[in-house]
Every structure is written in C-alpha cells, then in structure tokens.
C-alpha cells in the first residue's frame, strides 16, 4: 500500500504521526514526510485510522 498526501490540504497538524509515528513524520521544515514507500498490508488498520483522523482529509490509501 501507498499513502497519498494532498499537499494543498495538509496543515501538518500531526494527528497521523500520533497514530503511526513510524510511517508519518512532520519534518524540520514543517512538511509531512511519509517514511515508508511500500507499507505492508498488516498496517492497513493504522493507515485507515490516520486517514479518518486527518482534520483536513489530506490522506488517502492507494492499493
């Protein structure tokens, strides 16, 4: 699976990082970084949670 970030919506609020800190990280420049290119299927629940929690609906799952 991949995570797609809509950069026009993302406000770097960081709730995704609170859900899965090994996948999401707000970088030193304040922009969201996705730390894993290809995310294993076992993490689907975490990803769905992160997408749902996002206050700006900036995240979606591909695959």
């Amino acid at each position: 699976m991949k995570i797609i970030v809509d950069r026009t919506k993302c406000s770097s609020i960081g709730l995704c990082e609170a859900t899965a800190p090994d996948i999401f990280e707000i970088g030193a420049d304040g922009a969201l970084q996705i730390l894993l290119d290809d995310i294993p299927e076992t993490r689907r629940v975490d990803l769905e949670q992160a997408c749902e929690n996002c206050p700006t609906q900036a995240l979606s799952i591909e695959g």
Binding site: S11, S12, G14, E17, E25, I26, A31, T56
Partner: protein, 432 residues
C-alpha cells in the same frame, strides 16, 4: 427533518442558564448538572448572550450551545461552515484585541493552514522527545523550590511555573521577562475577576496586557533579527508565507497566542490533577503501584478531568444545519468542552476519576479539527514530568481545603490551592 428557522431576534431562549456570571463563578460540579440536562434533552439549544458587564455588544442576540461529544467533534470538523476568524470566545472582543492576541487560533484557511504549518515542526512528538531532558530538568528545579518547605501554594509555586519555563524556553523568552509573561497571560480570561484586576478597569487592563506582551515581542523580534538563535522566535522572524515575511504585528500576535495557550492551560491541568489525586486516594494508590508504566494513561484522564479550556466559539459562515437545527449565517456557536468530556455516550461513569480509562476519547485538545491543540504533546510531557517528580519525591503531597477558583467561561482556572507534604530533607533523614 429540520424545522423552519425563526429569525435570530425572535428565537426563544432556552430556560437553562449558562450565560450568567453566577453560573460561571460556581463549580464545575454545579455546571455539570445543567449540562447533563441539556445533553439529555436539548443537545443544541439557543441561549441569551453571556452577561458580564464588559464587551457588551448591542448586536449580540445569543448563542447556540453544543454540549454533546459527537456534536462538538462535528463542529470542529466543519471549519468551512463554522469559522474561527470572527473570534473564539463567547464575548465579541474588540477587533484590536483579536488581531493582537489570538494569532492563528482565530484564523481560517487558507492563512491558518500556512501559519500553522510554520509552527508544526517545533511541536511534533519527535521534536518534543528531543527536548524532554529539558522539560524534566524544569520539573526538577520547580520541585526543588518547594521540597523543603512542607507546604506551598500549589498554583504559584508549581502549576504556573512548569509551563512558564517550558514555553519560554521554546519561544526564546529570557528569564527577566518570564514572570511578567506568566502574570499577564492570566488576563486573557481573568479580566472579569476583581481579585486579579485589583481596581483596574477591565478593558483598560486587557489593553495593558496586550501592550506589555507586544513590547516584549518587539524587543525579541529585533534581537533575533540581529542575532538568530535556535528558538521559535527566530523561526518566526525568518519565516516566509507566500514569499513574504511575516509583519512584526503578525509575529507579536502569534507570540501572544503561544504564551497564553502555553501558560494558562497546563497550569490548570496540573492544579486540577493535584486536587483529583487528593480526592481519589484509591486511584492514586493504583497509579503508585507502577508510576512510570501507568502515568501516560493516567495523564489523559487528568486532562479530561481538568478540561482546562471549557469553551470555544465558532461563527456560522452561512446558513447551515447542525443536529437538526437551522443555523443562520453569523450565529455564534459555542462548544462546551467540559460538557463533552462528561458525555455518558462516550465515557463510562465520567463523574468518577478513572486513571486507567482506555481508550480515553476526551476532547480537551480540540476534537480533531484543524485547530487541534498544537501543544498537545508538550502538555503531555510536562504533566508527565511534573507528576513523576512530585509523586516520587513528595509522595504524601495533598491539597488542603478547597481551591480558590476563577470565574471565567474560557479557562477552567484555579487561582490558588494549598498543599502540604512531608519535607524532602526530613523524609530522607528519617529513612537513614
């Protein structure tokens, strides 16, 4: 189905009183009785304007009260319908005060998005983990300050100092300004409190606060421009939004927000937490069985219990609907966080402190919208460090008598609260 909306001026007011000065001068327990009735019977209700003798707005006809957890979360997640830019408090504060002191909390997208992103990097979980040693050292030095005394005013000697030092360290405020900053930040909500005003006229006192905070901000802006440091003030003077530098007034407003939000929230959570640990000895005993392991979960319950910010306002951007009610453009919509955090639809026995509560879906940090608390991780780490230090070194610390409470409708203020404990020197001598 929605009913036809009566004009704002003709809408009948709900019989429950949540607008009077007396209501807000009482205790959280008394207020909860009213909120419980509203949650059960009239979850979205229209009320007469808050009355406080100041900032009276002749055009203010009332507000919608949102008291259920689910409805509050919905409002925070509809920033296009419910705006922050018209103000975030009950009162219609003068525009000068809004502009000068509420920074990006009283902004809407797209500008909110850009400013918020600027600040984000300094407050992420990983960044806070990096400065945790610092937060722990601040907690240690504050407990050092009372450890031999046996008694203290918990608010001024502990609860106010923890966030003061930490937010000042992050922003880059030197020692000589810290007491002033922490003292002035109280007037954001304390302007209606004669104990704080000490004879001053409220409006004049608020402007004095704004002037004082801005003078310090401008001094620091100049200092960081000529000599950058590794702090938030430097980040702000160097930042660009849409290719333009922030103006000095923009920076001063963000500065004011950071110090008010940074000081007046964790201060209240620390105080209410200390009181709760005194009032619920069984819960405290459970916590002490494995302090390090259980503290992170317990802190969430302490934050729910404290709910340091009791209300936030939004303003309807256009005619819209909420929970079956027709909301008219320009209507004030007030979210009652203290009520949502006691909602039995979400919390089992919310009236009982349950330090092992998990999951704990409290909304004390916002409710999941774009204005979700920037300092949530900072608050958690500070509370963790403070209670670990207190409960380890002063294990019998407890409150004495009833705390003196504030009378505002925004911060859940504890003005002063006495604590007693066996002095550390004496306790360690006895052990020997």
């Amino acid at each position: 189905m929605t009913t036809a909306a009566p004009l704002r001026a003709e809408r009948p007011y709900d019989p429950a009183d949540i607008s009077s000065t007396e209501f807000w001068a009482g205790t959280a327990e008394d207020r909860e009785k009213v909120f419980a009735e509203l949650r059960a019977n009239r979850p979205i209700s229209w009320h007469r304007p808050v009355h406080n003798g100041m900032f009276e707005d002749p055009n203010d006809q009332g507000f919608w009260a949102v008291v259920r957890h689910a409805d509050l979360v919905e409002v925070t997640r509809r920033p296009g319908d419910f705006l922050s830019g018209k103000g975030i408090t009950f009162e219609s504060l003068p525009l000068e005060v809004l502009d000068a002191a509420q920074g990006f909390i009283a902004m809407d997208p797209p500008r909110h998005t850009k400013i918020r992103r600027l600040m984000a990097a300094a407050f992420t979980p990983k960044q806070l983990a990096r400065i945790d040693d610092h937060i722990v050292a601040n907690a240690r030095r504050i407990v050092d300050g009372i450890a031999d005394k046996g008694r203290a005013d918990f608010v001024t000697e502990v609860a106010a100092l923890v966030p003061m030092h930490n937010i000042c360290d992050m922003v880059g405020i030197p020692e000589e300004h810290r007491r002033t900053i922490a003292y002035e930040s109280q007037f954001a909500d304390g302007w209606r409190d004669p104990r704080l005003l000490q004879g001053a006229e409220p409006m004049a006192r608020v402007f004095q606060t704004v002037t004082t905070i801005h003078a310090i901000a401008h001094e620091l802006i100049d200092a960081r421009r000529s000599k950058p440091e590794n702090d938030l003030m430097t980040a702000l003077v160097q930042a660009e939004v849409d290719g333009e530098r922030l103006t000095d007034d923009d920076i001063a407003s963000i500065f004011a927000l950071l110090i008010i939000a940074g000081n007046d929230t964790t201060r209240q959570s620390t105080s209410h937490g200390m009181k709760a640990l005194t009032d619920f000895p069984d819960q405290r005993a459970w916590l002490m069985e494995d302090l390090d392991g259980r503290l992170p979960v317990a802190i969430e319950e302490i934050i729910r219990w404290a709910t340091p910010i009791m209300t936030f306002r939004r303003t309807a951007a256009h005619d819209t609907e909420l929970g079956g009610h027709q909301i008219t453009e320009g209507d004030k919509v007030i979210m009652f966080y203290s009520s949502a955090n006691m909602d039995t639809e979400v919390f089992d026995h919310p009236e009982q402190l349950n330090l092992s509560r998990s999951p704990n879906k409290h909304v004390a940090f916002g409710g999941g919208g774009i204005h979700h608390c920037l300092g949530a991780q900072l608050a958690r780490r500070q509370l963790n460090a403070t209670f670990r230090e207190l409960l380890t070194r002063l294990p019998d610390i407890h409150t004495v008598g009833e705390p003196e409470l504030g009378n505002g409708n925004f911060f859940h203020t504890v003005m002063s609260m006495n604590v007693e404990f066996t002095p550390e020197a004496k306790a360690s001598a006895e052990k020997r």
